[in-house]
Amino acid sequence: MKVQRLAEDNPAAVLTVVFILLFVATDIVNRAQGDGAFLTLKQISTTFLYAAVLGLMSAGQTLVMLTGGVDLSVATTATAGAFTVSRFGTHGSGTAIVLALAVGLAIGLVNGIGIGVFRVNALIMTLGISTITLGYLTVAAQKQFTALVPNFVVTLGSERFLTYIPYDLLVWAPVAAVIILGLRYAGLGRAIYAVGDNPVASRLGGIRVWQVLLVVYALCGALSAVAGILLVGFNNAADLGIGSPFLLPSVAAVVIGGTSIFGGLGGYAGTILGALILTVLDSLLTILNASQAVRQMIYGTIVLALAAIYARATAGAE
């Protein structure tokens, strides 16, 4: 009983334990296969390097899900960002990055207008926008253009300084700090929780709900584009499928992190741990040499199991 109370009061502590256990399990498996230790500073650093893309994509997803919505266009928006960077790479890294961010912001704004102003169901709107974006990118990719990922972006997405610190942490850490603090202290942050908890009461309380939704989806688009920039830096080339493996994980990280899909409950700290857990899980499955099929099934099962445990815990707390 005492353990359960402790777990309900400190979900972040439980997630940290899960993360560490998973890391140790991966270490044991890796040793058993004769490939040496996994629990090294180097591997921890690699985990953070890999997790940054997912962490940023699920940052936007966290904001959206706190308002009670969902954004299924994050993956294609990241792909769009990645494409923009490599398409305009020849114009210098600054221009390329600004353009990529603008593309992400624009896609997010369209989502926000549909959902906030026209009150379209978030699922339909973002899936539709995702289809449109991917279709357009496919057409654009067929045209001839010089693709070049600027060195600056490659460094940002794949290299480390002081041996162990990935450069992408320089992007992820400030974003994380702003989101965590902003959700707690800023007016917009409180409004996001309020809208997710009860949109009607928020409107009667003087919050312009449509403005909050517009800003949240626009931010989500921009954050996805940031993830796309890091991703193209990591892969050193953009292709049409670059973002799609992150769609389910972006939702899963948020759910694992304890944010309610119905909105109004949760935060970004949990999501960060969720992203780290999923990244280690991915390494574990790679070490186990799991086929794509097995990987996909295990992934789905684990997401489901963790979500179920959360649903139980929150139901018990009420």
Binding site: G128, T131, A293, V294, R295, Q296, T301, V303, L304, A308
Partner: protein, 309 residues
């Protein structure tokens, strides 16, 4: 019934656009193209009516597609039909299991079915990694070549009608069918009225599994091939067809005929664009834009109505 009006207008336009004389052959190819989406839309419609959403439809279709392409290849026509029945029943059980998971774990529908999308997609890859397999010729003809009575009535339409009449018509007005609508419009009111809410939710997902299986079998028959990615596009398109077909995403309102008409509309839009020589990817863009626009206008209409009252 906006979807019907749209279908009528599109067909009239279509008639003026074909190079050769527009005839039974065009009707038949449209019916074949539309059949898998029609089935997917039926399953999705029943789940959405009951207040849920099923994102695993696409993977279920892929899974049934590869399983049937492997199982039916060397069977006689009769055995193939029997095995198909078994597959549909099995898929209904898997659907019921999804529903059971939702009821037992109390996790939101969208998360559970999103996880199932991955589990079933993985299973499809495990069954058949690269496209292959097949089905008996007579089995394929059932959907592709045969016609009923006149050559204007392709058998694909017959298959669709048959499934609708056997699976849905007898159930719709019964306790089970009505309880699906009841839990969709208000779960607590339904509960207070004595409806077994968990059981009805499970029934809805079982229906979705069965219809998705029919869609997967239609894919096998139409293409004569199993492909672990064949169903991917049907998750979004089934939701789109349901919304275009006048079913409320909030649940409780609508039927299956609207989504079926909308499935034909979506398929015809694609056909028309290919006919016009539009790049297939542009066709995807336009189709997506069409869906978003229709839903936006729908949202605006609801808003105006809300202001009036």
């Amino acid at each position: 019934m906006g979807a019907f009006a749209l279908l009528f207008v599109l067909v009239l336009y279509w008639r003026t656009q074909t190079a050769a004389r527009w005839g039974p052959f065009d009707v038949q190819s449209l019916a074949i193209d539309a059949l898998p989406l029609c089935f997917a839309a039926c399953g999705q419609a029943i789940v959405i009516l009951s207040g849920g959403i099923d994102l695993s439809v696409g993977s279920m279709m892929s899974l049934v597609n590869v399983v049937s392409a492997r199982a039916l290849l060397h069977l006689s026509f009769r055995d193939a039909l029997l095995v198909s029945l078994l597959i549909v029943a099995g898929a209904a059980l898997v659907g019921a299991f999804t529903g059971l998971l939702i009821v037992v774990t109390r996790v939101a529908d969208i998360i559970v079915t999103l996880a199932m999308l991955f589990v079933l997609g993985g299973a499809a890859l495990a069954v058949l990694e690269v496209p292959g397999g097949g089905a008996p010729i007579r089995y394929q003809n059932l959907v592709t070549l045969d016609t009923l009575a006149t050559k204007w009535a392709p058998s694909a339409i017959g298959v669709l009608l048959g499934a609708y009449v056997v699976l849905w018509v007898p159930v719709r007005r019964t306790r089970v069918g009505l309880s699906l609508y009841a839990i969709g419009s208000s779960r607590s009111a339904a509960y207070l009225a004595g409806v077994n809410v968990p059981r009805s939710r499970i029934v809805a997902y079982a229906y979705s599994g069965a219809f998705a299986a029919l869609g997967g079998l239609a894919l096998t028959a139409a293409s004569g091939l199993g492909d672990p990615n064949s169903g991917t596009i049907y998750t979004l398109n089934s939701v789109a067809a349901v919304v275009l077909g006048g079913v409320s995403l909030l649940g409780g309102v609508g039927g299956l005929i609207g989504p079926i008409a909308a499935a034909f509309v979506l398929t015809l839009v694609k056909t028309l664009m290919i006919l016009k020589g539009v790049d297939q990817n542009w066709a995807q863009v336009i189709q997506g834009a069409l869906i978003v626009l229709v839903v936006m206008i729908g949202g605006l209409a609801v808003r105006q109505k809300g202001k009036g009252s």
